[in-house]
């Protein structure tokens, strides 16, 4: 070994040089560190900055937040929603015909519809996209749908669900057919009055299938990314931003007005920190949490920038399955629902209304006849009648919560303890614990509800047939032992898909409560009823019966709030999970 001192000096010299070299190369590549496209919009360009949650996947067929940014106007489906969100308007399809039996929809695609790479959007694109959507991942090579499949089975395309579950393997029997380049025929198994609206769900957006199949790993990453909507993606820095620019090939390019949209991908943060970027000019549009809404409402300027989407989602409680039998008694569940004091609960945060039914009042034809009326005295009477006078003998009622904010859950528990004098508490757990526990049969004397929110199309088929669907109601009505049997069947990997479905249905047919089965029969009948008034009547009947089971308790109808800078024009908020479309937006001074 050479003399130590020399090595040491050499070492120091060498490491000094190395550090200098590293530092030099770092500063040279410094801009690369921030992505290719830093905050540099060319002069005179209009730029819009909006906040969104992080996007992990840009595939509309995978259930992630990514799918809801795509349907805002990166991809475009056959139809889009109208300004109010209660009907559809032409998009890729310029027109469509519905057969007299309401089962066959024939769409005519625009000649001018193009992908951002200049290729025409043709009917076959839709057929191939839907085939990918309905193909179970395990059985397909490369066309895997990675993650929970986003297809809404309530859409009712003939054979789709069977193809997805593997019962049907012949694609030609599925109701999706391209006739030439410009005609697409979709066939349903039952009439579905909501079908056209259901087509606005991200799952039904077209994909550039040549690219998806040619580059299965890289098609989502710019510069590969290709879309057919008003905007397309030029940059995607995970956990930081998406950069959108107009799709120059879009059929209605003249009506796309913003030159560059920066979508900040921001983890939802606590109130008060979320608004700092907005007030500091880093974003033009942001969703607000309750306490921020209150502050904005009190401020003369900020209150003008506040936009409310009323009655966006429903806060509900669902019965937990327990070894203890108390919650099997409908009188106990009804007592807990009537004792909720929804009026007081609605005052806890801004923009809330008492949620008197699972069907929101936004649904056309809704009236109070299907609603619940709070009645603390009746609740007490019911509880006593069930054998728990003033709550004596009733185990503590738990509320299983898996979201960070328990403000409303605490208020609910408060309502129960005050109105009924029973013991109740919030069981606040991590999200993973929540997902596991809410389906389990609770041991010992653990009884209660789990806490959740839903949002969906405000139409009867969705509100009654799809959210808290007849099947959900039947499953939750099963006695605990049958529920365990049912779960074991679901987990059984040795059963063929068709056998499994048949056996599961057999358990429901035999052990679900009679009213729960009746709800299913009513909805089935409603789905095929051609007369509008009669159909609504049937749905209403089913909805009322569902309320009377008190298996799912509606609590509150919640609003959604956004803060929008005055320079942003054309914002059309809809009560749908994508909230608004990008296309009508423009930026003024």
């Amino acid at each position: 070994m050479p003399p130590v001192g020399q090595t040491r000096r050499d070492f120091l010299r060498l490491s000094g040089l190395t550090i200098a070299a590293l530092g030099g190369s770092w500063s040279l590549t410094g801009c690369g560190l921030f992505g290719d496209d830093n905050d540099k919009a060319a002069n005179g360009q209009s730029t819009l900055k909006i906040d969104y949650v992080p996007v992990e996947v840009l595939d509309p067929q995978v259930i992630t937040n990514g799918m809801w940014i795509l349907s805002r106007g990166i991809s475009e489906g056959l139809v889009t929603q109208t300004e109010k969100g209660d009907n559809v308007q032409p998009a890729v399809a310029s027109e469509w015909k519905v057969s007299d039996d309401n089962l066959t929809y024939t769409f005519t695609l625009r000649d001018k519809a193009q992908w951002s790479d200049g290729k025409p959007v043709v009917a076959k694109d839709f057929e191939r996209t839907y085939k990918r959507l309905f193909t179970p991942a395990g059985g397909s090579a490369g066309g895997t749908t990675l993650g929970a499949n986003s297809y809404q089975t309530a859409t009712g395309i003939k054979g789709a669900q069977d193809f997805l579950s593997g019962v049907l393997t012949d694609w030609s029997k599925v109701g999706v057919k391209a006739n030439g380049d410009h005609e697409l025929v979709l066939t349903l198994s039952n009439p579905n009055p909501d079908f056209l609206l259901a087509l606005t769900h991200p799952a039904m957006l077209p994909l550039p299938m040549d690219l998806v199949e040619g580059k299965p790993k890289d098609w989502q990453n710019p510069p590969n990314y290709v879309s057919n909507g008003p905007y397309t993606v030029t940059e995607w820095v995970a956990n930081s931003r998406l950069i959108l620019v107009p799709n120059e090939k879009y059929w209605d390019r003249d009506n796309v007005k913003v030159d560059r949209i920066q979508v900040n991908l921001v983890e939802p943060s606590a109130a008060a920190t979320a608004t700092v970027p907005y007030e500091n000019g880093e974003t033009d549009l942001v969703q607000l949490a309750g306490p921020d809404v209150l502050r904005f409402q009190k401020d003369a300027d900020l209150s003008k920038q506040l936009e409310q989407t009323e009655n966006y989602s429903i806060l509900y409680l669902a019965k937990l399955r327990s070894q203890h039998k108390a919650m099997e008694d409908v009188r106990v569940r009804k007592a807990l629902s009537l004792a909720l004091d929804r009026k007081t609960l609605a005052g806890v945060q801004p923009g809330q209304e008492p949620g008197v039914s699972l069907v929101t009042s936004r649904t056309a034809g809704w009236d109070e006849s299907i609603g619940i009326k709070d009645d603390a005295a009746e609740a007490k009477r019911l509880l006593a009648e069930a054998g728990y006078p003033n709550g004596q003998g009733l185990p503590p009622v738990r509320l299983l919560v898996g979201v960070p904010d328990t403000t409303l859950a605490d208020a609910i528990v408060d309502s129960w303890t005050k109105q009924l004098g029973i013991k109740a508490s919030v069981d606040h757990v991590e999200a993973g614990v929540y997902t596991e526990r809410r389906w389990q049969v609770q041991k010992g004397n653990y009884i209660g509800f789990y806490y959740g929110t839903f949002a969906g199309l405000p139409t009867w088929p969705t509100m009654v047939g799809s959210l808290w669907s007849p099947k959900n109601v039947q499953e939750i009505s099963l006695p605990s032992d049958q529920w365990q049997k049912y779960q074991a069947l679901q987990d059984n990997k040795n059963l063929k898909p068709a056998d499994k479905t048949a056996q599961l249905n057999a358990v429901l047919a035999e052990h679900a409560t009679a009213p729960a089965r009746e709800i299913g029969a009513l909805v089935d009948k409603a789905n095929v009823e051609p007369d509008d008034a009669k159909r609504m009547g049937l749905y209403k009947q089913a909805a009322k019966l569902r309320e009377e089971q008190y298996l799912y308790l509606p609590v509150l109808w919640l609003s959604l709030f956004h803060a929008v800078k005055p320079k942003v024009h054309g914002l059309q908020l809809r009560a749908y999970p994508d909230y608004f479309y990008l296309k009508p937006l423009s930026v003024g001074s």
């Binding site: 070492f11 770092w26 801009c31 560190l33 921030f34 992505g35 992990e56 996947v57 840009l58 595939d59 259930i63 992630t64 937040n65 809801w68 179970p136 991942a137 395990g138 895997t144 990675l146 993650g147 929970a148 499949n149 986003s150 809404q152 089975t153 669900q161 997805l164 579950s165 991200p202 790993k217 890289d218 995970a238 930081s240 931003r241 900040n264 921001v266 920190t273 700092v276 970027p277 500091n280 000019g281 880093e282 898996g402 991590e430 999200a431 993973g432 929540y434 997902t435 596991e436 526990r437 959740g452 929110t453 949002a455 969906g456 799809s466 669907s469 679901q490 499994k500 599961l504 999970p577």
Partner: protein, 325 residues
Amino acid sequence: MGLAVYIGKRLVRLVLSLIAVSILTFTLLQLAPGNFADLQRVNSGATNFGGVGTESMVGELETRYGADVPVWKQYLIFMKGAVVWDFGPSYKYASRNVQDIIAEAFPVSATLALLAVLLALLIAVPVGVFAALRQNSKTDHGTMFVVTLGHALPSYLSAAFMILLFSATLKLLPSGGWNGPKDLILPVLALSLGPAAVLARYVRSSMLETLREEYVTAAIAKGGPRRTVIVRHALRNSLIPLVTVAGPLLAALMTGTVFVEALLRIPGLGLYFANAAASRDMPLLMGTALFFALILMVTNLAVDLIYRFLDPRIRTVGGVSDDGH
């Protein structure tokens, strides 16, 4: 020769440690309640739209994510890839491989860590020397009081304060994001305060120790200028122990900036690591955990090696000197 054996031994230990880390992480993940598929349904658009998994969806997920192969086999499949630096696709970020995520996000975290440690050193050395030269005076106690405060202040709290001050109130800096060099200022400041405090205390005590050394006394006795004695004799030697502190500090910052990254919206690796655990994303969690362990161990090894060169007196390794004494 001795060095080669020493490095060899350390590398063997490193590999064994990595295996232990992988087994521990995997086991803990298996023990954690919930799974990726269920969480995905609850935490994403599915909840909003009422997507309830059909049996086929669940089946599909299980095939894709390996729930239908035994757990030990899943581990082996993963580790087989990990050996050749192929962790496979993340569950959550399904279009990307874990090693690509690391390659993309690590430079971000590493840059912040390097700059933060550099800044910390720039603060710590003068502060430590200043305090040491005035040992037990009021200025010494005052400085050390502030330093202790800085040490006790968690980086996410200082980040929050800085957002309040520089963004919300003064409106001088962006409150977060990753769009340009401006966005480096707040995270580097927030991350450097704690380490600066730690380092300043080390500099002070090490300086005090060196000042008591005979060669310093001798140098002063020879009548050398005070400044020269302090900077050339005392300071240089008292900085050597800093290497042992600064190295692991750097590694810790490179791997542990979760809170600051989340608060300041920085697409670094810490954020992925936290998300991977929360969403039960096995490949991403295993990949990042192994990578973090590797970084820590390599840094420690590097520190030990550098130390040997910097201080010729330190040659003893694991109780046995490699020079034969």
